[in-house]
């Protein structure tokens, strides 16, 4: 019977581009490794309690921010803190400009525009580049990789003045499109590195088989590369979105009243006095929500992305 099994793969089973076996072996092996590590004989209660206490300690500022945002201003500013005070949406109404008339919506829309469009641009530029660095690599592709990385190591402050002067000269100050280009260049090196690492996970045999079958490039991209690399590409997009959404220095220097982003709007709360703590917390919650969603959505690939693919 055993002599029969080697013949079975001749049905081009593992060579088929969409074969589930080829896709799953990696994760299955990882799961097996994970199982071996879960040593049931060891008593981890102490470690668990310590981890939970520390986790709660780290989460307290976030939880406190959320709780305070649902308190009234008078309950928010007490010493000792009024943990069990009545909950209200007043702070959110205030943040959205109920009495002041200053709406955060333009800045939120600017942030969304800048983050989403720059992420789309980054993906459009980085995907072909990552392809030329992994699947059909150019000569000296490692040198190119390190050039990309080295641009990320140059601090923004070292280039911001010429960019500011350029924008002022051509009238691009306070223009969201200029900011979009800046964010694209800011995230492009990271995206190229992340995507390369995700594309490199596409099994060689699958690509070769597809080429022997005479599949064209578009078909290969759609049927082989996309299914394997899609979670990675999505994670790359989410991480680029987060970095753009968070950015303050470029936005503060290059934008003003018209194109100001959400972090720039938040700087209005830096020196605020009086009873506005609940409003600050509401603002912080609203503006952090997209990042929290994006981050938790990318959680599985977050490490690989943030370490530029160096850590799996």
């Amino acid at each position: 019977m055993s002599t029969l099994t080697p013949a079975a793969p001749q049905n081009s089973g593992p060579a088929r581009p969409t074969s589930p076996t080829a896709l799953n072996t990696g994760s299955r092996a990882a799961r097996r490794r994970g199982k071996a590590r879960m040593d049931p004989t060891r008593n981890n209660t102490a470690a668990g309690i310590a981890a939970w206490l520390l986790a709660l300690l780290f989460a307290v500022p976030v939880l406190w921010m959320v709780l305070t945002s649902f308190h009234s201003e008078t309950d928010a500013a007490t010493n000792p803190p009024s943990v069990a005070a009545n909950l209200t949406l007043d702070a959110y109404r205030e943040f959205f400009g109920e009495t002041s008339g200053v709406s955060p919506w333009p800045s939120l829309i600017n942030s969304a525009t800048a983050s989403i469009l720059s992420t789309v641009l980054v993906l459009l530029l980085a995907f072909p580049a990552a392809y030329a660095l992994s699947i059909r690599p150019v000569k000296k592709w490692t040198d190119v990789m390190f050039f990309f990385l080295s641009t990320k190591m140059m601090p923004v402050v070292a280039a911001i003045l010429p960019l500011y002067l350029f924008a002022r000269t051509v009238g691009a100050l306070d223009n969201i499109w200029f900011l979009i280009l800046m964010y694209t260049s800011m995230n492009l090196p990271i995206a190229v590195w992340m995507m390369r690492s995700f594309l490199a996970e596409v099994p060689e045999e699958m690509l070769e088989a597809a080429q022997i079958d005479g599949a064209n490039l578009l078909l290969i991209l759609r049927k082989i590369i996309a299914p394997v690399a899609m979670p990675g590409i999505a994670a790359t997009a989410l991480i680029c979105f987060i970095f753009s959404w968070n950015e303050l220095l470029l936005a503060r220097v290059l934008t003003g009243v018209v194109a100001g982003t959400a972090p720039v709007f938040l700087t209005g709360f830096v020196s605020g006095q009086g009873l506005f703590l609940a409003k600050v917390c509401a603002a912080a919650v609203v503006i952090s929500l997209p990042v929290l969603f994006a981050g938790f959505a990318a959680q599985d690939k977050l490490v690989q992305g943030l370490s530029l693919g160096a850590v799996k």
Partner: protein, 322 residues
């Protein structure tokens, strides 16, 4: 005759052609391979390298936009000012102190958390998620929360909790902290450590989970103590991950602007170089000086980056060899 010569010359012609054809085909192929790379490469050179060249040029100029008629070549004067001006020297020192302390402290705490999370316990996934949360708060928002909701001397949570704990013991004289004005640097470091520890923890946890367990099990069988295993097996394996986390963290924290801007507005000796440069060009309009300071940051970053690149490269080669 003509047909004959044509026929004779053909084989020779044919022999030369394939070689040339092959060469041009090879070149076309090489360009076809390069083509997908070019848009990204050209874009990046235009947007990052060109401005830096401009910064270099401006750094050698005496240029204050408030007195444009005095614009002139200044030689190394701006660099001399960067290294001698007490404020800018303080900014260099602050940048180093901030980067080193935040990286080291968050690496240490991150290591402890990663070691705990490497064990299996009830609700591990949820604990991990809670621990990532600080990293997923917009940095300006996080700095605002620290400034107003946690560190505020009259109604911040930290002093509030002190009051509450002391009142449990019947005392109305709880100690009250005012980090923002008494130890502003500590306030900045505290908020940044809070944000960056999750990053370090994630990288170190991934490192721990890639540890070959068979050697650990063999060591356990041989009667090695947990400390011995940590010291001689886990730590050497984690070295690369510690370096990677530290250096990636350093690259981001050297450039930090948000926390300094929000928490202290650069006051009381907390202005790091990015903040000082921002002030020098945005408010003081000293373009030449700001550019020279920018070049100094780049030089410092290059020194750190050479180490960073080496570490990333060794991990990268390992992965490529797999």
């Amino acid at each position: 005759m003509t047909t004959a010569t044509a026929r004779i010359s053909r084989p020779g012609h044919n022999a030369a052609n394939p070689a040339r054809e092959a060469k041009s085909r090879e070149r076309a192929l090489a360009w076809a391979r390069r083509a997908p790379l070019l848009p990204a490469l050209v874009f990046l050179i235009l947007v990052t390298q060109l401005p830096f060249v401009a910064t270099l040029v401006i750094s050698f100029m005496n240029w204050n936009s408030l007195s444009p008629d005095k614009t002139a070549f200044a030689g190394l004067e701006n660099y001399a000012t960067v290294l001698t001006d007490p404020d800018l020297r303080q900014a260099i020192f602050t940048t180093i102190l901030l980067t080193v302390s935040v990286v080291l402290i968050s690496l240490l705490i991150g290591l402890g958390l990663a070691l705990l999370l490497d064990k299996k316990f009830l609700g591990r996934g949820l604990a991990r998620t809670l621990l990532i949360a600080p990293f997923l708060v917009v940095p300006v928002a996080a700095a605002l929360i620290w400034k107003h909701a946690l560190l505020n001397p009259t109604f911040g949570l930290i002093n509030g909790v002190l009051t509450w704990v002391w009142s449990l013991f019947g005392s109305a004289e709880a100690p009250q902290l005012d980090l923002l004005s008494q130890a502003p640097m500590m306030a900045v470091i505290l908020s940044l450590v809070w944000q960056w520890t999750p990053f370090m923890m994630l990288i170190l946890l991934a490192g721990l989970q890639s540890r070959p367990m068979d050697t650990v099990e063999a060591a356990q069988m041989d009667g090695a103590t947990p400390w011995g295993i940590f010291r001689h097996l886990t730590l050497p394996h984690l070295r690369q991950y510690l370096e990677l986390g530290g250096l990636l963290g350093a690259i981001y924290i050297v450039q930090n602007f948000d926390a300094v801007f929000t928490l202290t507005a650069g006051g009381l000796g907390t202005a790091n170089l990015p903040y000082a440069i921002y002030q020098t060009f945005y408010f003081a309009n000293e373009y030449g000086l700001a550019s020279a300071a920018g070049v100094v940051v780049v030089i410092g970053t290059i020194i750190v980056a050479t180490f960073a690149l080496r570490t990333v490269f060794s991990l990268f080669k390992k992965e490529a060899a797999r």
